[in-house]
């Protein structure tokens, strides 16, 4: 396949982060790390909403969806699911040189890959990841590409030739119009992820994820800005906190009600 994004009138890129399955993952409380073996990678649940809204737009305007992810090579399996859920092409940026990236270096790699493909009409990203949980990567990518963006997009109202109209939840909801190309960072209200059909699943199973190394981006990026080297933040230590001490007194219903009344009066609530 050509490096340019696939043919189709309206081009959409979705940023999909592979993450440990937080429902199954085991946590090493002493070391403050995730036991990597304890959990396979899955697509960040928030990103399924991003892919869904992208797929809906694609179906409406006859476009194409390409997903881009940066993760270790074994993420490829999890990413196949994106094909079943409406993506036409899935690219995985995977290289030791990308390792240890903070949000700035992550965004730099993703933005470079987008440049390589040619800036699409629309980029869609999830609200935040369930592991790093910063919500920073999408606006960083938008700034690096020099395009407008809206975060906390809860609804896509309309898609026009040169603009997209959305609701962004700030201190109140605002209806805004973004000139395309633009990036939207969506909340889970934006669309409910579809249940893939059997046919879609089969198609996904056969699909080969494209893996791009750092070298592949050498014409559009400075490798000094990748990974640990390109990360201005450094972790000086990890602390395992002691939970707030609780008195954990247990009561039956009758005694409990009395106790609640006593506390509420003491605290001046009633």
């Amino acid at each position: 396949m050509d490096d340019a994004i696939m043919e189709g009138s309206f081009k959409i890129v979705v940023l999909m982060k592979p993450v440990p399955d937080m429902e199954k993952v085991k946590f090493n409380v002493e070391k403050g790390t995730i036991e990597r073996e304890s959990s396979e990678l899955v697509i960040n649940p928030f990103d399924l909403h991003a892919l869904e809204v992208a797929a809906q737009i694609k179906e409406k305007v006859n476009g194409t969806v390409t997903t881009i992810s940066m993760a270790p090579p074994h993420a490829a399996d999890a990413l196949k699911e994106s094909i079943a859920r409406g993506s036409d092409r899935a690219i995985l940026l995977s290289d030791r040189k990308f390792g240890g990236a903070d949000t700035l270096a992550t965004a730099y790699a993703l933005a470079s890959a987008i440049r390589k493909l040619g800036i699409p009409d629309l980029i869609v990203a999830g609200e935040k990841s369930v592991d790093g949980d910063t919500a920073q990567v999408p606006p960083l990518v938008a700034e690096m590409l020099g395009i407008p963006h809206a975060s906390y997009v809860s609804k896509v109202i309309d898609i026009k030739e040169k603009a997209i109209e959305v609701i962004t939840e700030q201190e109140a909801p605002y209806r805004v119009e973004l000139r395309l190309p633009a990036l939207i960072q969506v909340t889970k209200e934006v669309a409910k992820p579809r249940v893939p059909t059997l046919k879609d699943k089969l198609k996904a199973k056969k699909y080969e994820i494209e893996v791009w190394s750092a070298d592949k981006l050498s014409d559009v990026a400075n490798p000094d800005f990748f990974g640990l080297k390109g990360s201005p933040t450094w972790v000086s230590k990890i602390i395992v906190p002691k939970p707030k001490p609780r008195s954990k007194q247990v009561f039956n219903a009758e005694e409990g009600i009395k106790k609640i009344i006593e506390i509420l009066s003491k605290e001046g609530v009633i």
Partner: protein, 330 residues
């Protein structure tokens, strides 16, 4: 320019329609502490339209100098204008670090600044301090609050966002003096971001609540929310909910407590029919007093509770309401 030339702590003074978000005052309080340790200054960046009169407020709460950018282009939040205007202020002040509220607006704007300055940004810090070597260190929770990472930044200015109600504002002191410096901004007419309208909506600010009565899947049907609402009303409390109730459209997301909802820290948190999953407890574990009502004595929420009442909510809550009414004499 050498990194040593950066000094002072800058707070982004978030305001909407001329009202300063209270997280700003909390950040000013923290910035004072940091600046005193470093022997440097506290700056505030005030961006908006007809907002000049707010400068003195910022000084009363700890700013030594307020940079004001007053422009009609900043009347409503347009991330592109705000970014460019804020960058002008940063360029002038050259602070060692920039603190912003981890509000939706702060989180929309901060990463764009970080990318433009090619500097590090730490999200949702729970503490900020200066270590023995004089480094500015940011503390942030990770993996649902199971660990805390201490993070430093190689580049300057360092940037951090902080959630509302993490720090305490200092007492307002109307005798405090400070400087005000105007910064001109004339951005493009069209940034590619056009605000069409503000949608009026009654938003519940659960993070502000002193008392929260939260309910989960222990509730059998949507109609039964009524008893929870009745209890909340009697206590002047705000209703909170676990995520499944929000997913099922029983209640709006404003009410959701937890990882993908709101982080709350009320004086009293009453958890009714909530099991206490890590995604829920991360949002409420720093509350003052926690009271739980659950029919399962082994529910994980017990670990996070001061008072754990074993019982069926359909018996306990109506009785509780009755007792409170009696007590109140109504």
């Amino acid at each position: 320019m050498s990194q040593e030339d950066y000094s002072g702590f800058m707070v982004f003074a978030e305001q909407h329609d001329g009202v300063i978000h209270p997280v700003t005052f909390e950040l000013l309080g923290k910035a004072r502490e940091l600046a005193e340790k470093k022997g440097s200054k506290v700056y505030a960046a005030l961006l908006g339209y007809n907002v000049g009169s707010l400068s003195s407020e910022l000084i009363y709460y700890g700013a030594d100098r307020v940079y004001v950018v007053d422009s009609e282009k900043l009347k409503v939040f347009d991330v592109m204008h705000y970014k460019d205007a804020f960058l002008k202020v940063i360029e002038k002040a050259k602070p060692e670090a920039i603190l912003m509220g981890a509000t939706n607006t702060g989180r929309t704007l901060a990463p764009r600044i970080s990318a433009a300055l090619k500097t590090g940004l730490t999200a949702d810090c729970t503490d900020l301090f200066i270590d023995e070597k004089g480094n500015f260190i940011q503390v942030r929770p990770a993996f649902s609050g199971n660990i805390f990472a201490h993070i430093g930044t190689k580049t300057k200015p360092a940037m951090a966002t902080v959630r509302y109600r993490t720090f305490k504002a200092i007492e307002k002191d109307t005798s405090r003096k400070g400087e005000v410096e105007k910064v001109e901004y004339s951005g493009p007419d069209d940034t590619g971001y056009k605000v069409l309208e503000k949608i009026p909506r009654e938003k519940v600010n659960i993070s502000d609540a002193e008392v929260i009565v939260a309910v989960g899947k222990g509730l059998k049907k949507k109609e039964d929310l009524k008893i929870i609402e009745d209890l909340a009303k009697l206590l002047n409390a705000t209703v909170g909910a676990s995520r499944p109730l929000v997913d099922d459209d029983w209640i709006s997301r404003d009410h959701q407590v937890g990882f993908s909802g709101n982080i709350v820290k009320p004086k009293i948190y009453i958890a009714i029919g909530i099991s206490g999953s890590p995604q829920h407890t991360v949002g409420m574990k720093d509350s003052g007093i926690v009271i739980s009502i659950n029919k399962d004595p082994n529910a994980p929420i017990a670990e996070y509770s001061d008072y754990f009442i074993v019982g069926d909510l359909y018996e306990v809550v109506p009785k509780l309401i009755e007792e409170i009414k009696k007590k109140k004499g109504t």
